[in-house]
Symmetry: C2
Subunit: 651 residues, 2 copies
């Protein structure tokens, strides 16, 4: 049966003339044991919430996963899909892409990410088991990781968190083949991985990765461990290719017709390319039916659950918010209109979260060790501990990358909506995971505080300059930068309602004067940009986001007082604005002879609003260490500078 | 003497009303033992090339370093500088900034970076010791790291590399105070750090971090180890503040006058704020003179070295290239003009490096396990191994972040110019280190291959879309994207001559038709953008970079043939173009009624050249998995699309 994986992988890579045969061939035995004897999954009901999750962290070995999904009988992958491996429009992309086939639990390829996603999935499972009971949530999360995954720093963050939280249903197979692209692992690494995992509180087992019984025994031992388990599987990369196996030559290139023929001979496989002998395919399809009973029993338990619990479970896995969500935010906004406080938007975010977390039990908060700075822990957010998952807050530790990837895993698992706090500057530390969230189209929310030189004394290492532009450059990510508490409430509302996109909220450290005075039923931030201060026949239009909106308002006041008709457009979300109909966009951009954008960051991206001849008041260099107010003056981001620039241009 | 550090730190934080007293107070004993008994450094000759390096990886404890530099008598820091802690324009920024004071070896603050920089410094020391002998290079690199540094994933990459390479002159003090911002370390971590470091081949020692003799003994043991050493120093954060020590309350806020008074009492310190008793200061200043003899002896050895060796050593530490560098590149370009090959720019880069590496022994190459893909290993580049540092190539492993930070350390150490290969997509994995290189203004070169959808079958996880824009957004970083081998040679020439800025070269996987036919003495890429195809009264100007220049050339050919006068501007480096004089920039941008930019990436940033009403042919979404040529067609990045867009606009 494992040879079916090997030959499908060889054949598909050969036909595509591109791909990675080495891992699928080396790890075929491990995968076969797991999928035919232990994994609970149902190809006919692939999204069954209590299925075991399988994450191919070493995503370049995608043909392993595609072979498994085809062989076990998933409806949305056929032999023709395997023949279309790596071709335009095919489901079988070079690396597994979430959404292409129902059995792909996460997009992998960038190394280490899948392992860290799996940590999030295991957190989600344990949290939901605590909430809904083992009758509705009780599954394992399996990972296949390679040397690359384990060398990446993100893996340390992920395994340390998993070991700390005692995620004992997480089982990681390490495809220990001693080979990387450059050659032998020993060229660059001398790590004792067993000792390393033990050091972070993991159970570890070593087996021959080509011995089915040993693999099975290891899985059984892992399943009863009270810690997460690493099963180190010693394998031969490209197992079965007689002349190339065990070397980096089988990693990332087709084997060639000759070597494939030799493999056929050596493994005694007589079927043609893309053909799986009927008895072998039958055995695989039978394995695909193995969990039908388990799944049916689970459905019976769900059906037998109290109505309210069942409805809640179904709602949570559908990712729908309760019907009262909008009205709750609306009530909050009404109260704000009476007393919109002068607060930092990080504090405004806490106020909003206090309401949101009270309403939405599915929200799972956390921070990368900046809880008191990110204002992410509201009254409902008791911390999760290794022995008690009744809490709703995760102390992720100083692990931005691991946190972001775990959040992806939590969202992918379903049933929970994760948010996590960090400084905006450190979005750089977790950018690969943020990008993957955007690529997958999943709902995770990053609470990025300390979003400009307003950080002050901590200096240039802690002051984002290029981060707003570089996050806006990521397709399918919504970056919100609210200007006061009302906008913060609206942005949170949008982020949480966005089922198919990740969001980031850029929030200030420093206090801001409110710019929205009146209650407005509409969510104005939903337009991405809107008229905050209108003026007919405006000579000047000032666009600004976040903390710079109050500067724009002040400048407009001075200009209007001087008789220069001036509009202010608040721009809490550039991406949403760009999606508005042409006529709305044109109306907002308007026809003022002078257009100015104010943002304490680089100019990139603003030309779309102000034109390339527009005036930009912002940053051109790194920041500096000084009180925030001094820095705004020093870098010339003030109402006075805006007024002067406008007057100069008009004169 | 340690109390002098404690009170200066308390006083400076108090006066600034901002900062982190906890670490300097807790680690004062460790630092005092190191600086007064073991470190070889000379405040009067602070840049002496064979000094021991000290890296405060936990950069938030900057007052520890500033106190040490002041107390030991560095000329470029005074008591007034300490009083100006964290104020605008002061040398004593919130976090240590490289270049502010000569004793600051690297900019730290983003956690884990300093530790990884130090790995680079230790690599540089060993490499230079191999090259110039222990008489000129034989020093230690010391690091003070906190829990945050060790939790960050980058630390695993760094320590694994250091352990593998047996960097036995690297000694890391872990300030083991059990406290992070969120509270106790145990909230988020259960790592056995000793076991973890042992697992990657380190020597480990545990001491009471307030016991000077134990600290001293540990340092002595570490100095004779054949492995890098972790000295775990159990400390009390905020040691000496009787009511707040040992808790996260002393981490990041002023102690308050009351608590400082209590500390004075408890530690028996009678001096006023910012006053160090004369006897204590004398003792410190004496410690600052401790290594004078060692330094003088070193200078004598340098003076006694053979003339050529001495000159080479001095040249290397001055960072000057040999006089023949330009002419060597020029000769290479002349040859190219005879036969500019159709190659991928990654291969072009290899050709250039073959020449460069032959000329410049200071170049230290490497790759994050993508050697055969990055084309970074030329004939001169024998690999460095744990037992043999005569090579010039580092197999960094699958550790982009660790590599980038180590490269920063190598550059900071002096005597070497590091380059490192990776896929452009994975610039995201090392972005924090790239940013720090830009902030510090140091010469490191990133070889980023596979720079667009031209990657092909590997799909969207491996295809950069937003990376060119987001790297261009980082101040003080030069991003080069050459269009053929001639441009690649010019870009390498510029990157290597740039002593005060890091560079990245974005290079293709796929072959490119050469666009530069004739030999040109001038380095045209130095202008950032230049006329590749001129046309008087051009109706259309097409701007393009890298692999899209050949598309622009093809489109211009078609348009010119149709009688539409069309220019082509090649844009290998946007940043350099923006630095050109106004008249040059205006001339290059020109006055064509139709301006088009072609780049297989997002639009952000291009409006500065084409105007916000310009036409952009590029990417708006993530890529896809298919052969590269199919993708260019699929996403409409073709000469035909350029021609059609131009004609439509003109009609």
């Amino acid at each position: 049966m494992a040879n079916a994986i090997r030959f499908l992988s060889m054949d598909a890579v050969e036909k595509a003339n591109s791909g990675h045969p080495g891992l699928p061939m080396g790890a075929a035995d491990v995968a076969t044991v797991l999928f035919t004897r232990y994994m609970n999954f149902d190809p006919k009901n692939p999204l069954w919430p209590d299925r075991d999750r399988f994450v191919l962290s070493a995503g370049h070995g995608s043909m392993l996963l595609y072979s498994l999904l085809y062989l076990t009988g998933y409806d949305d992958i056929t032999i023709d899909d395997l023949k279309e491996f790596r071709q335009l429009g095919s489901k079988t992309a070079g690396h597994p892409e979430y959404g292409h086939i129902s059995g792909i639990e996460t997009t992998t390829g960038p190394l280490g990410q899948g392992l860290a996603n799996a940590v999030g999935m295991a957190i989600a499972e344990r949290k939901l088991a605590e909430e809904f009971g083992p009758e509705l949530q009780d599954h394992h999360t399996y990972v296949l990781a390679g040397d690359g995954c384990l060398m990446e720093g993100i893996s340390q963050e992920a395994i340390a968190l998993a070991g700390h939280l005692k995620l004992n249903k997480l089982i990681v197979f390490w495809d220990d083949n001693s080979i990387t692209i450059d050659g032998a692992v020993s060229l660059s690494d001398s790590t004792d991985q067993i000792a390393r995992f033990k050091a972070v509180n993991w159970n570890t087992i070593q087996v021959d990765g080509h011995d089915p019984d040993a693999i099975g025994a290891a899985i059984e031992a892992a399943q009863i461990s009270d810690k997460p388990t690493l099963i180190a599987c010693k394998t031969v990369i490209g197992f079965g290719a007689p002349n190339k196996q065990g070397s980096h030559k089988v990693h990332g290139s087709p084997l060639g017709a000759e070597e494939i023929a030799a493999a056929r001979k050596s493994l005694g496989w007589e079927a043609d390319a893309f053909n799986v002998p009927a008895d072998v395919l039958d055995a695989w399809r039978l394995a695909g039916l193995r969990s039908t009973k388990v799944r049916k029993e689970w459905e019976e338990r769900l059906a037998a659950s109290p109505t309210e619990k069942r409805a809640e479970f179904v709602r949570r896995f559908a990712g729908d918010l309760p019907g009262s969500f909008d009205s709750t935010i609306d009530t909050f906004k009404k109260k704000l209109a009476e007393n919109n406080p002068t607060v930092a938007t990080r504090k405004a975010s806490e106020d909003v979260l206090e309401v949101v977390n009270g309403l939405l039990p599915e929200v799972l908060g956390g921070s990368a060790d900046l809880t008191p700075s990110n204002n992410t822990k509201t009254s409902q957010m008791k911390a999760i501990t290794p022995t008690d998952f009744s809490g709703r807050y995760i102390h992720y530790g100083i692990r931005e990358h691991g946190m972001a990837a775990a959040m992806n895993g939590i969202a992918l698992h379903g049933g929970l909506i994760p948010y996590g706090g960090g400084f905006l500057i450190f979005s750089d530390y977790c950018r690969p995971s943020v990008r993957l969230a955007a690529l997958m189209g999943i709902r995770v929310v990053h609470v990025w505080t300390h979003d400009s030189i307003g950080v002050g004394e901590d200096g240039p290492t802690h002051q984002p300059i290029e981060h707003l532009a570089s996050l806006r450059a990521i397709p399918n990510l919504l970056l919100f930068r609210p200007a006061d508490e009302t906008e913060t409430a609206e942005c949170w509302q949008l982020a949480l309602k966005e089922k198919k996109r990740p969001s980031g909220l850029a929030l200030t450290r420093q206090n801001l004067t409110p710019v929205r005075q009146d209650y407005e039923e509409k969510n104005l931030c939903a337009y991405g940009a809107y008229d905050l201060i209108s003026a007919s026949d405006a000579k000047v239009t000032i666009f600004a986001s976040g903390s710079e909106v109050e500067i724009a308002v002040k400048a407009a006041g001075q200009l209007n007082q001087k008789g220069v008709a001036t509009r202010v457009v608040s721009v809490p979300c550039v991406e949403l604005f760009m999606e508005q109909p042409d006529d709305y966009r044109e109306a907002i951009i308007g026809t003022s002879p002078v257009k100015i954008a104010v943002e304490a960051a680089v100019r990139e991206g603003w030309d779309a609003l102000i034109g390339s001849d527009g005036i930009f008041i912002g940053m051109k260099s790194f920041g500096a260490s000084a009180p925030g107010k001094d820095l705004y003056k020093h870098f010339g981001i003030t109402a006075e500078a805006v007024v002067a620039a406008a007057e100069k241009r008009l004169s």
